[in-house]
């Protein structure tokens, strides 16, 4: 804690307000994501600081500041429920900066706050890197730079004893433009570094799993009715570019977590779900090759079409359930290439342990469904016929697809199948799986995404969170696990035309074609942004350098390349700033003479315009070492060349002599 006396002088108003503004802009997304109470108290401190600056209030006494800070830390910990994650870390950082503002009275305090704003801006990108945030980055950096320049203009003279220059501080508009110029000049260097800075192919350390507090999208478990909000979330989940034509909509099943065990309310993965597959998928003519850009969802799974063969994502593998998973949570936009083979027979034989799990039902739940399953079994001995009958039942009876659905009770499947008959994919998938198991057919639930919007202009498929889906797989003798989508029986348009076709009306205030078109265009730009800026990684860097005709390089070589490029890039700027005025005019001898004068000027001997070469030579000769050629010699020769009759030979020898001229200080005199 820094002690501040009661008599502390207030710094000028502009830098304080600008620093607070810089903090406010940088912290805005953080504040929006914090519990309301925490962000309100931070805003309260800011408001106090603004008032204190405006009315020149006395600073808060030290012990009170410590108390307030400690109180707020406790508040943050309580508000976040003691759950340690990135959000709480950034909340604490914001809080500390706000607390620092209570004692922000010296230029160095102001500087500290303004510079940590850059850190705050960078840390926001751990949560969101959408194109929109580029504006946040630019404006945030601009105001922080403006605050820094403004702080630098606080001169001690203003409230010190020295009253040499009481210049008016520059106008805010001028400073704002100056800061923008500073930022613009920083861009060439920033972009060079961005392209050439050696990237890590693999992270050095990962987030601990519990630090993942910004999870979006699918969840690892499924209990019908719990996550209807996901279907209203229009944000992109991932985008896909295909080699060749995209598969038809009915084939666009993006495989996510596969759920086996059901406890009556919730579906969960099996214990073996995470082990690697023992039976790799082959590549054949029907294989699809594509590239996925996955938005960060902070889970470990990667989405792929049925059934993934291999992917180039580092540290990824294909599990027993043919799910593509990464070893680490996906915290930034990730790109990977995948090959999938749709026609593949999964596990032609089912192990008894797996069969047991795939048939297991809690005995005390859903008696009517179990009864109906047994009834169907008796009616249809053939599995396929039984399934068809159930799908027909779904289609022909009064079953409805709706996103607004009542929560289910203890016997969820019973309620749904016999009373409610209104719900969305999770309800159908869950009830269908229970019915199948009741009828003795091994069944499991697969969650993931289905469909996607084909952006014709951008030639890519956009899959939104709203495209989340759940379907089933049943195990049939001789055919292995076969996909069955009960939702398709109820609402075929859901599968054919995507999530937009059902329940989509009324989601947006204005949902005309024009607006939709605009949104698609924006998404295209976002896609390019994701692809070229966010997706720029070690691999893309390598390919870019290859395209420039450079061989594969290690980090050291890329680093050297970066440094030389940096020098090259900053040369024009350095030249602009540092170049000494030189004239190309005049004869060769004149220019040589100017060079000699420049060499002398660098040593601090400036020829005044009124001096003749000989006078100047006489003045400086005693300060210079008498090394051949001496300066008086040169001056005499120059006078002869320049003012005498034209003599090319003499002029040439003069130019040659100047080349050898190195002014050296006379040591005896200097000492």
């Amino acid at each position: 804690m820094i002690r501040i006396d009661r008599a502390t002088t207030h710094p000028p108003l502009t830098p304080v307000l600008l620093t607070i503004a810089a903090f406010l802009v940088a912290a805005l997304p953080h504040l929006a994501a914090m519990p309301l109470l925490v962000s309100l108290s931070i805003l309260l401190i800011l408001a106090w600081r603004v008032m204190a600056a405006w009315y020149q209030w006395a600073p808060i006494p030290g012990f009170l500041r410590v108390l307030i800070t400690l109180g707020l830390i406790v508040l943050v910990v309580v508000a976040f429920g003691g759950f340690w994650g990135r959000r709480i870390a950034t909340a604490l950082l914001c809080l500390m900066l706000a607390a620092k503002m209570m004692e922000m009275y010296r230029p160095r305090d102001l500087r500290m706050v303004a510079s940590v704003c850059f850190f705050l801006i960078a840390s926001q990108f751990l949560f969101n890197e959408r194109l929109l945030y580029l504006g946040y980055l630019v404006i945030g950096c601009w105001i922080a730079t403006l605050a820094l320049t403004s702080i630098h203009q606080i001169q001690p003279t203003r409230y010190g004893s020295n009253d040499h220059s009481r210049k008016q501080p520059p106008l805010l508009r001028e400073s704002a433009r100056g800061a923008l110029v500073l930022l613009a000049l920083a861009l060439p260097v920033a972009l060079t570094l961005f392209v050439l800075f050696p990237r890590l192919a693999q992270p050095i350390w990962g987030f601990p799993d519990q630090a993942m507090d910004g999870r979006t999208g699918l969840s690892e478990t499924m209990s019908p009715g719990s996550i209807a909000e996901l279907f209203l979330d229009d944000s992109p989940a991932f985008r896909v570019e295909f080699e060749g034509q995209p598969p038809p909509p009915a084939q666009r099943y993006w495989r996510g977590p596969v759920l086996w065990s059901f406890d009556g309310a919730t579906w969960r993965p099996a214990y073996f779900s995470d082990t690697a597959t023992r039976e790799p998928v082959p590549v054949n003519q029907s294989s699809i090759r594509y590239r996925v850009q996955l938005e960060p969802h902070e889970r470990r799974w990667l989405l792929a079409l049925d059934y993934p063969v291999q992917s180039n994502m580092p540290e990824s593998r294909i599990t027993e359930d043919y799910q593509l998973v990464s070893r680490r949570p996906i915290t930034t936009l990730s790109q990977y290439d995948v090959i999938s083979t749709p026609d593949f027979t999964v596990s032609p034989t089912l192990e008894s342990a797996q069969r047991m799990i795939a048939l297991n039902l809690p005995p005390d739940r859903n008696p009517r469904t179990r009864e109906h399953g047994a009834f169907l079994r008796a009616q249809y001995p053939d599995d396929q016929e039984l399934i068809n009958a159930v799908l027909r039942w779904f289609r022909e009876e009064e079953f409805f697809y709706s996103l607004s659905s009542a929560p289910l009770g203890r016997h969820g499947a019973d309620e749904f199948l016999f009373d409610l008959r209104t719900g969305y994919c999770e309800y159908y998938a869950s009830a269908f799986a229970i019915l199948m198991r009741a009828a003795g057919i091994p069944a499991r639930v697969v969650t993931g995404y289905q469909g996607g919007f084909w952006n014709t202009a951008g030639q890519y498929l956009l899959v939104r969170q709203a495209d989340a889906h759940a379907w089933n797989e049943v195990w049939l003798e001789g055919r292995g696990w076969v996909r069955v989508d009960p939702t398709a029986a109820v609402a075929p348009s859901r599968i054919q035309q995507g999530s937009r076709s059902v329940g989509a009306s009324g989601r947006f205030m204005i949902d005309t074609d024009w607006i939709r078109n605009l949104r698609n265009r924006y998404d295209r730009v976002q896609h390019l942004w994701d692809r070229w800026v966010l997706g720029f990684d070690a691999d893309r860097q390598r390919r870019l350098l290859n395209r420039l005709g450079l061989p594969d390089m290690g980090a050291t070589e890329i680093g050297l390349l970066m440094i030389s490029a940096l020098v090259l890039i900053s040369l024009p700027l350095a030249f602009m700033l540092l170049h000494e005025r030189s004239s190309r005019a005049g004869s060769e001898a004149q220019r040589a003479w100017q060079r000699a004068l420049t060499r002398l000027r660098r040593r601090g001997f400036a020829k005044s315009p009124a001096e003749t070469p000989l006078e100047f030579a006489e003045r400086v000769s005693k300060d210079l070492d008498a090394k051949i050629p001496t300066f008086p010699q040169l001056a005499g020769m120059y006078t002869e060349v320049h003012y005498g009759p034209q003599d090319h030979q003499l002029a040439a020898s003069f130019v040659n002599l100047v080349k050898r001229f190195r002014p050296v200080m006379n040591r005896i005199r200097q000492m």
């Binding site: 160095r108 500087r111 510079s115 850059f118 850190f119 801006i121 960078a122 990108f125 751990l126 945030y133 980055l137 950096c141 730079t145 820094l148 320049t149 702080i151 630098h152 203009q153 001169q155 001690p156 003279t157 020295n162 040499h164 220059s165 100056g178 500073l182 930022l183 000049l185 920083a186 861009l187 060439p188 260097v189 920033a190 972009l191 570094l193 961005f194 800075f197 990237r199 890590l200 992270p203 350390w205 987030f207 915290t331 930034t332 800026v533 966010l534 997706g535 990684d537 900053s570 700027l573 700033l577 540092l578 000027r601 040593r603 601090g604 400036a606 200080m665 040591r667 200097q670 000492m671």
Partner: protein, 325 residues
Amino acid sequence: MEHIGAAANPSRLGSRLQNILDHWIKRRARTIPPLTIGYRQIFILPTGFGWMLGLLMFGMLMGSLNFNNNLGLLTTFIVAGLALNSMLMAYHNLRGIQVRRCSAAPVFAGESACINITFINTDERSRPALELVHGKQCKSFTLDASASGEIGIMILTSHRGWLTPSRLRLQTSHPIGLFEGWTWFWPEQPILVWPRPARHPPPLPQSAGQQQGSREHREPEGENFYSLRAWRSGDPLHRIAWKASQRHQLLLSREFRAEQAEHLTLDLSRTPGRDLEERISNLTAWLLMAEREGLRSTLRLGGVEIGPAGGQAHAYRCLRALAEL
């Protein structure tokens, strides 16, 4: 004794290092005005704030790199670009400034000497946020485009003699205080510090008859030619200026006068005082009194004799001799 020796050692080492550094700076390029600040005279290092931001940048870099967070990296690199440019701009702000006339008028010991330094900006751009630093003094100023200005630095003097001020430092951390560029230079000449005049000096030595000096009264008729005047009856014939008389068609006679009426001889060896410094101090006070009263005087310091003469120039000569004694 040992204690003093131990205490003195580090400072001696420090001053030796200081000397080596000064010597190196002086050998690099001209360091005495008039000079134009060029790249050989400019030094640049990050400020404390610059180091702090560097640390912050390192943190941002490691975090963003680890998670391959490209926007985070971009932010980091923008800050890096800002830092790099601010180094160039600090340099740019200093380069080309001309330093002229860096000197101080002589003062009496105990007073503050004011070193006046003229800075000239011949370029079409202003040079904001310049600071002139000497010891604990720091003066901030801005040089406008094509402008010049004079900055004064006060140096407290204590002893008579030539005072060689330590180097002066012109610095800037324009534009945001990340890097500080500076240049060192020395005043053109050492500062002459006159002896401190005694506050209550003994009265001026009176006349010739007295011990400490002489005050000679002579007849108006002296040996020195004084002026021409109209002839009066009684003027001897040899006094008539014939040539001038012919020119002016009027009989003129030459008038002779003796030396100025009052003449002081101020001798160090006859000045009262307990020690040399006190005697010098009294002598200085006397010199100043004589100058104020318009008396002619001769200063005798050991074998050196200055004067007899009067006026300011004589006083300055005497003061300087006393200072150098």
